[in-house]
Amino acid sequence: MTTHIEPAAPPVAPPTRVPPVTTRRTARRPRRWVPSPRVVILLFVTVLSAFPLYFMLVMASRPNDDITSVPPPLTPGSELMTNVQRVLENEDVMFQQAVINSLLVSLVATVCVVLFSAMAGFAFAKLRFIGRQPLLAFVLATMMVPVQLGLIPLYMLMSKIHLAGTLPAVTLPFLVTGFGIFMVRQYVIQAVPDELLDAAKMDGASIPRTFLFVVLPLLRPILAVLALLTFMERWNDFLWPFLVLDLEHPTVQVALSRLAGGYYTDQALVMAGTLLGVVPLLIVFILFGRQIVGGIMEGGLKQ
């Protein structure tokens, strides 16, 4: 019996997301909406979550004099564009360059993490090689090691290969993560049936070919989630970039700290810069919030 491979139709439904229950809509509805205590508390928590970001927007849209006024202003002003322009034109901070740098670093790291995690996750789930279990245990253990504390030798290493100060220095150490491998592995176990791989083998496909054309398409949902989480983590990274990057190569977070910590007491400028640094992730979050929430919950459950 020969089987043809249909990568477009996964035989097992991707288990990450359960479609929302829609039958509830037809069920009876309370006529008047009275918020329960639970909803009131949740509303309060949500306001608390959002308020500092709203406050940032308020301050970013005010002239600098307003910021030190008492009581503090709580409604947006009209200076947002002026302040944003001042950030973008500030030559010391190089904000535009920082945005480009952050995009570059985050994208390269994301592509690599996704690719390498897919490869290793697939291998750990489906390929039989000697030492697979201990090696997997090692990968898991790396998640618990505070590698950040190796920053002094890492700095020495980067100096030695003449990368200290430059963008590769903040990219190279983050091209692989144990978390990504584990996440993909769990997904492969559920979503890629052995029969499919056997069929591909019988059709004469090599393992790399099978991975590329059969497995990879099936992994799209989990890889998308992994990509989102990785991108956000890289975009927000602070300590190592702050330490290793020179003045000519700031990322957004480093530029922000320079804006806030340096010679400026211009809080409107600082807040406008902070706003600019947060907005790209806010857009990603609004577009893909459901997937990001799902990914974090999945990741936590795996432990």
Binding site: R38, V45, T46, L48, S49, P52, L53, F55, M59, I67, V70, P71, P72, F116, M119, F122, A123, R128, F129, I130, R132, L135, T142, M144, V145, V147, L149, G150, L151, I152, P153, L154, Y155, M156, L157, P173, L175, V176, G178, S206, I207, N236, F238, L243, Q253, L256, S257, A260, G261, V270, T274, G277, L281, V284, F285, I292, V293, I296, M297, G300
Partner: protein
């Protein structure tokens, strides 16, 4: 016999064909090569550096454990250690309790499920640097929103950076704002995995809501609680950005006039890149690894009691 073999082959067997073995090793090799160079080597080499007097320029001389004995007598180190642990406890305990409560609230039938979940996660997608900058403004002495609000209940303007307790509190608020919702989602995922019939059985036995929470939920959540506590410990002991940005001015790394909120990572950074003493800074790093292991061990011991206490 022969018929059953293919079915279990892939699950149990550890030996594939040569091609399969080769593919396996090459597929996992990027991780191991990159991790060896940029993860494992630096953390191990840190120990080697810590046994030397090692300057930024690379001049070095063997000193054995001298850095460690110096560290034990270093008042600044103890200050930083106490600060780090103090902020860690002040931030983590309420954070995990709030996260657990929040997860309970979210674990019901709820209109706008995704909206609420995104709502609690929103702080977490905000960068640490942004959090530090925004909250430092909120905690400003003369015109900050927090002091203004406290004024209504008769509290005089607090100079948050000036005292140990107030700076710890402010920094803990930053940490908690960013992480409570994230941990709530992890707890929520675990709550949803608790079998419903456990609760049914408990309520048939006449257990109250509280009793159910204490005797069913908490024990079932134990692995997750251990995991979240461990992650919080690893992150908390390495706290850096919030206290750094909380201290404006040119000498931000010092963590205040009397180092009242300088954390271990800040002290490490100061020694390495301001003082240019790589050896001594590496000693701090290596001791931090030990502190993390120690705190994680204490946590595990304490959490082991959850099951026995019931």
């Amino acid at each position: 016999m022969d018929h059953t073999r293919p079915a279990v082959r892939r699950v149990r067997g550890s030996r594939g064909s040569t091609a399969e073995q080769l593919a396996g090793y090459s597929f996992i090799s990027p991780f191991f090569i990159l991790f060896a160079i940029f993860g494992l080597f630096p953390i191990l080499f840190t120990f080697w550096v810590s046994l030397h007097d090692w300057s930024l320029l690379g001049d070095r001389s063997w000193t054995g454990l001298a850095n460690y004995t110096e560290l034990v007598g270093d008042e600044r180190f103890w200050t930083a250690l106490v600060n780090t642990l103090g902020i860690f406890v002040l931030a983590t305990v309420p954070q995990l309790l709030m996260a657990l409560a929040l997860a309970q609230l979210l674990n019901r039938r709820l209109r706008g499920l995704t909206f609420w979940r995104m709502g609690v996660l929103l702080p977490n997608i905000t960068s640490v640097a942004a959090v530090g900058i925004i909250f430092t403004l909120l905690f400003a002495r003369d015109f900050g929103l927090v002091n203004w609000l406290l004024g209504f209940v008769g509290v005089e303007n607090i100079d948050w950076q000036a005292h140990r307790w107030s700076s710890w509190l402010a920094i803990s608020v930053m940490v908690d704002w960013r992480w409570t919702g994230y941990n709530a989602l992890i707890f929520l995922a675990a709550l949803q995995a608790v079998p419903k019939d456990l609760y049914e059985a408990a309520s048939i036995d006449g257990a109250s809501q509280f009793r159910q929470f204490w005797s069913v939920t908490i024990p079932m959540l134990r692995p997750t609680i251990i995991f979240v506590t461990l992650i919080s410990t690893i992150g908390g002991i390495q706290l850096f950005t919030e206290p750094l940005l909380f201290n404006s001015g040119t000498n931000a790394i010092s963590g205040g006039n009397t180092h009242q909120f300088q954390t271990l990572t800040m002290y490490l950074y100061e020694k390495a890149f301001v003082g240019q003493e790589f050896g001594y800074a590496s000693t701090i790093a290596w001791v931090m690894v030990l502190v993390i292991a120690l705190v994680a061990g204490i946590n595990a011991l304490m959490l082991r009691r959850i099951r026995t206490a019931v």
